[in-house]
């Protein structure tokens, strides 16, 4: 865990650049991370995904996978690839301020 900053705000990041303390997350940080991931500016469609991740994480303490995004979140896979190209779950989890999704056992 390293001391780091995003647009001048001190935050804790892991080696892949994911926030390790969700309390440090703000919408401003999300916008900055979206810039790093090449998906800024964040639109309402992006925010719908980020909000679903946040809600689901609160309930299950894990970042939802693709099928859960589809079935429970009502967000089709093709939209996720359009909004967050190349690895939508990993990108969206980072922007939403949650841990890097390691694939399941």
């Amino acid at each position: 865990m390293s001391e780091n900053s995003i647009i001048g705000i001190a935050v804790d990041l892991d080696e892949s650049g994911y926030l390790t303390n969700h309390d440090q997350w703000t919408p401003v940080i999300a916008e900055a991370l979206a810039g790093e991931e090449g998906v800024a500016p964040l639109t309402d469609e992006h925010w719908k995904v980020l909000k679903f991740i946040a809600e689901d994480y609160k309930e299950r303490e894990t970042v939802p996978g693709m099928r859960r995004m589809n079935k429970v979140g009502g967000i089709p896979t093709k939209d996720l690839y359009r909004l967050f190209p190349d690895g939508p779950i990993k990108k969206a989890a980072r922007i939403a301020g949650y841990p890097k999704p390691a694939s399941c056992v």
Binding site: G65, T77, C104
Partner: protein, 424 residues
């Protein structure tokens, strides 16, 4: 008379029926077990059938041979569970009441979940080895193989026995070499994961092995569709992998009956307390084996450890005590790597697989996370252990339900284990 009803007479359900019959009073408790099939399959054997190592007789036995006399067997398709009424309905309309329900309906392939997978190539050029039928057809198709692009593919995680696709690839490499076909075959491993396997230390070692064997790896491949016209798989981000033969592991999903009952998650797995194995939100429903959503491998060894834990908890539940036994996610998996060698992984929810010795610390004879002949013999012996000890729910000497850290080299574990397990 009260009733424990077990859904599914596969690995987990059979073991539970045998454990409980020994522990519960015949005069007080009836034990009933439902399955739609008569056959019990030794699923780990499906890996070996395509290469002629096992034939059909090695992997099929009648279910009734493994279920004790004091247990009522019911043949039928489970239609729906009604937790409010404490009853289960079969497709025939028959109603089965229970006091305690144990869900052990496993997981199965769902090729219909991928666009085009059930197209013209299915069972012609595109096969699976996760079912008896699939493995049988693949064995026949491999007999005619002359060379070309052989693509081994995982559709979506999680799948049962997550190492099996890698094992298939290693065994294919050895089989092709033995049959003089390896230099005519391009062997390609396509996975939705970023590495060879889900656990960091094991992933590194297995990636290295794939490279050594000249197997091409395509990572981060989230399949969107199968195109039977041009014989290729296409990812959501429009990458394509062409095949002459596709050996895929389709999406794995729990029983549709779980979905119909409103008891499942997005994969039809039962949300289950990962320590006590009680279904979340239902006091008298328990789940084990591949049917649950607990974050460890879906494997026969896991079902075996869970059955020991769950038996204790059901005894507690019946006695009105707090559930005292906690499952730690212990999994113990052999990995065949070809040429009569293999690896062994031993891990749980917290501890990823590392090197060491098993089951006797310092002695072995099994070596963890190293390629040895002894590990291969361990895997071959597993068939005998499965048919003769595991299903009867006899304890396996020296192997405990809780993971033991003795004999493991823990400094080898990387820090990455702290990341969250999720379905990618």
């Amino acid at each position: 008379m009260k009733t424990v009803l077990i859904l599914g007479a596969g690995t987990a359900g059979t073991m539970m029926s045998n454990h409980l019959r020994r522990r519960l009073d015949d005069d007080e408790w009836a034990i009933r077990i439902v399955d739609e099939r008569e056959e019990h399959y030794y699923q780990p054997g499906f890996l070996f059938m395509p290469f002629g190592v096992y034939d059909e007789r090695d992997v099929v036995r009648p279910q009734r041979k493994f279920i004790g006399n004091g247990v009522g067997r019911i043949r039928g398709k489970i239609e729906q569970i009604d937790p409010a009424e404490n009853c289960v309905t079969l497709a025939s309309g028959e109603r089965l009441d229970y006091d305690i329900l144990i869900v052990a309906t496993g997981t199965d392939i769902a090729p219909d979940q991928t666009e085009g997978m059930l197209g013209a190539d299915w069972q012609n050029r595109a096969f699976d080895f996760y079912t008896f039928e699939g493995s049988r057809r693949l064995a026949a198709a491999l007999k005619d193989w002359k060379g070309g692009r052989l693509v081994v593919h995982i559709s979506e995680m999680p799948i049962k026995c997550p190492v099996a696709p890698l094992e298939f690839t290693f065994l294919a490499d050895a089989w092709l070499t033995r049959n003089g076909l390896r230099d005519k075959t391009e062997l390609i491993f396509v996975t939705p994961l970023s590495g060879a396997f889900t656990k960091p230390v094991a992933s590194k070692i297995l990636s290295h092995l794939l490279e050594e064997k000249n197997i091409k790896v395509v990572n981060d491949f989230a399949i969107g569709s199968v195109d039977s016209d041009s014989h290729k798989i296409v990812s959501w981000d429009n990458r394509e992998v062409a095949y002459d033969m596709l050996v895929t592991v389709p999406t794995n999903m729990g029983s549709a009956a779980i979905d119909r009952s409103g008891l499942g998650d997005e994969f039809n797995y039962v949300p289950t307390d990962k320590a006590t194995l009680q279904a979340k939100g239902h006091e008298n429903i328990f789940a084990l084996g591949d049917a649950t959503d607990v974050p460890t491998s879906k494997a026969g060894s896991v079902a075996h450890f869970e059955a020991e834990i769950l038996t204790e908890n059901i005894m507690d539940y019946i006695a009105g005590r707090e559930l005292s036994a906690g499952f730690d996610g212990h999994a113990n998996c052999f990995i065949e790597s070809g040429y009569g060698k293999g690896f062994l992984l031993d891990f749980n929810y917290e501890q990823e697989p590392v090197t060491g010795t098993f089951p006797i610390p310092g002695l072995g004879p099994m070596q963890l996370l190293r390629e040895t002949r002894m590990n291969h013999w361990g895997k071959m012996a597993f068939k005998w252990v499965y048919w003769n000890m595991l299903l009867q729910a006899r304890p396996i000497p020296l192997v405990k339900p809780e993971l033991s850290l003795a004999g493991k080299n823990l400094q080898a574990a990387s820090r990455e284990t702290a990341t969250q397990p999720i379905h990618n």
